[in-house]
Symmetry: C2
Subunit: 230 residues, 2 copies
């Protein structure tokens, strides 16, 4: 199992699947995809336990999305979409992740056909738990994800609701771009996403797995950035 | 100056500006942006001299875009948009880059409001020259970029045509996400982009700078990927 320090130093690609839980697609009024689609977050957005608060950029409607993360342990290219063993063998460990999203920035990008990289890529927009040893999750579809805001449960669903399973995800990514040791793949968020504001406290976790705990508060981001639609 | 090996091992983020030359915006019938916008390419897309051909994914309309690349030498956050000295001080060296783009994949993404990461992120979709020592480019706006396909010049423009200059680019990126040592920033492409096919030979360079030479051919990509609109 990689340490947080090793993972932080070596992760070069964070690939995230969009719209991978049916009820989450409905809540955002999105189309259900006929095939998986993916986007990148920059490694500079990672926020590990002890790194400090999530920073809220001015003018941004900031949403949480709790997701199971796969840390890759080997190079993967052209994995078969039904290769369950190949997919699981390629996973080195797990991590719980919150895919923070600047929803109004993303909405403008979607309307104008622009990339999502800014909406998904602000500093601190990828809170992570400690690394979860692979042996702690014998079945990645038997994982109960939960996220609360100020003590109120907002997301709580099992990973068996994924529309595209892990082999299909790693297949579709790896036939486009090589997955490398240390890369992180986020597997999508269940229903219940919503806004958080300065002063809120987010807690997330996986039932029964202490290493998956995330507890992080939200503070205003200083500096010149302000979102304004153009 | 970093070596190719050190850069390849350490680059964690490739940020690219879109629509930064007026005549290139016109040729693709795009809107001129009121502010810069950016997208990520994965480090796994890098293709250095000697690495082999550009691989053409099945069903993809594959376009070249020659661009001046900035390799960052230090951490940058919240740079001022007019801080010419701060911007140039943060550049460690330069590299010539071809931002290969799956145009039909991108067109579908733009129409459907989906991310650009796949269209921009295939393996081999970032041909690079050798590292160009900073001293070889005393003025990054006085650089004549050129690209030819099978011996015919297709792109040939000076970097003084950039709509948003380098300090503004680094300012807008660094107020969203921290730029780190070893990150690469692509500064946009001038007019003349177009398709290349298997068997074509691309040459690109910067007038007067031998380190900037790129010569790479195009071959079919093996494997299961095929682009089909859904
Ligand atoms: Mg997500
Ligand atoms: Mg994108
Ligand atoms: Mg480009």
């Amino acid at each position: 199992m990689a340490s947080v320090a090793a993972f932080r130093a070596n992760c070069r690609k964070v690939m995230c699947i969009g719209r991978n839980y049916a009820d989450h697609i409905k809540e955002l009024n999105n189309q259900r995809p006929k095939q998986p689609f993916f986007f990148l977050k920059p490694p500079s957005s990672m926020l590990f336990p002890g790194d400090g608060p999530i920073l809220h950029p001015r003018g941004v409607n900031m949403h949480y999305e709790v997701e199971l993360g796969l840390i890759m342990g080997k190079t993967l290219r052209d994995l078969g979409p039904a290769d369950e063993k190949g997919a699981l063998d390629a996973i080195e460990s797990y991590v719980l992740a919150i895919d923070m999203t600047a929803r109004n920035v993303q909405d403008e990008a979607k309307r104008k056909g622009l990339p999502w990289s800014i909406a998904k890529g602000f500093d601190t927009f990828l809170p992570l738990s400690n690394i979860i040893p692979k042996s702690r999750i014998p079945n990645p579809y038997d994982v109960l994800l939960h996220l609360s805001v100020n003590g109120q449960i907002r997301q709580q669903d099992k990973t068996d609701l994924m529309l595209f399973r892990i082999p299909r995800q790693l297949s579709d990514i790896s036939r486009v771009m090589t997955l490398e040791k240390g890369d992180l793949v986020l597997t999508g968020t269940p229903k219940g996403v919503g806004e958080v504001k300065t002063g809120d406290v987010l807690k997330a976790g996986i039932e029964g797995i202490e290493e998956a705990n995330i507890e992080v508060d939200v503070k205003d981001r200083e500096g010149p950035y302000e979102f304004k639609e153009t």
